[in-house]
């Protein structure tokens, strides 16, 4: 975990994460290659292995992967001020673009063409989520007991309207009970 370069300035941290965020459309999984290009290949702030581990940690903590990972990198480089600078850079493009859309485009939402366009888009959104979840499932739902947990969590929410938090807690407990004797893979 040795840091391979001197401390970047807070402004530099802010703008690196702002660039990554502004050029990512589609969230956490799309962001990884861009983040690696900036932080590892461009700035030389860390190694390939480090960025993969940081990304894994960002995914293992609740919340937003992109925010968690940038906070961690910022913290590693410049402590708490660095973490805040990196997180602000990551959030800034979202805030600006979404506020502009929400303020100026929402009045046009009721136009029949816009309504039809959104009806088409909704169908595409289902596919986007299904395919994303399929990608994750291929890597994480790879045994009988894991399939049972995934199906159980799906049915409890769709059929019984269970709260998602309950599924997270139940999954964590079941994981501890079922897998703690397995050798770490």
């Amino acid at each position: 975990m040795a840091t391979s370069r001197e401390y970047p300035t807070l402004l530099e941290l802010f703008f690196v994460f702002l660039r990554v965020s502004a050029s990512t459309i589609g969230g956490g999984y799309v962001m990884f290659p861009l983040l690696k290009r900036e932080v590892v290949d461009g700035k030389g702030w860390m190694s390939d292995e480090e960025i993969v581990d940081y990304y894994a940690l960002g995914q293992s903590i609740p919340g937003i992967i992109a925010m968690n990972t940038s906070t961690l990198i910022g913290y590693r480089k410049r402590g708490v001020p660095g973490a805040i600078a990196a997180a602000l850079g990551m959030a800034a493009p979202s805030l600006v673009v979404i506020l502009l859309i929400a303020a100026f485009l929402v009045p046009y939402f009721d136009h029949p063409w816009v309504q039809k366009a959104f009806a088409g888009i909704r169908a595409a959104v289902v596919s986007l989520i299904v395919m994303a979840v399929y990608q994750v499932a291929k890597q994480t739902v790879n045994s009988g007991s894991r399939i049972a947990i995934a199906v159980g969590s799906f049915l409890a929410i769709v059929g019984l309207h269970a709260h998602p938090v309950l599924m997270i807690v139940a999954g964590a407990l079941l994981g501890f009970l079922l897998f703690h004797k397995e050798a770490p893979a």
């Binding site: 459309i25 961690l72 894991r146 079941l174």
Partner: protein
Amino acid sequence: MNIFLQLGISFLSIGLFAFGGGYAVLSFLQHEVVQRGWMTTERFADLIAISQSTPGPIAINLATFVGYETGGIAGALLATLAVSLPGMVLITVFALFLFHFYEKPPMQAVFKGLRPAVVGLIAAAAWHIGEVAFVNGAAVGIAAVCCLLIAKWKVHPVFLVAGSAIAGILFF
């Protein structure tokens, strides 16, 4: 209850419990938005589409959007801060123990059970949106074509959103 208090509680709890990134946040948020009567599932699906086709993390875009629709600019800032804060604090604390703690077998076992549960709850979010999205055969056709385009050519979401908008105007 005051809308800012509601937004704060809602987004802090989402930030604290949503494991698995943007799509997991989406499933939690869908639950909250409908339960609290902030907007319809149709409207929420529209916000998802916009959040997926604009720059930045999907969950931050969604939080900003839902916050703005319910509480104006202050609501947008509050929701974004609240959804980000728990993860940021946790990962900073976690950084102190970093990989020692993370690689311990009991912790790995917990994550092995947690990840399939997350898969199930994201699939449930897709199900709920499908219930309002699949209003006719054309909608099912658009979804099927999108699945094929992603599976075979990894077509970028922006093109799928643009293409399905045009298909919607033509066929609905």
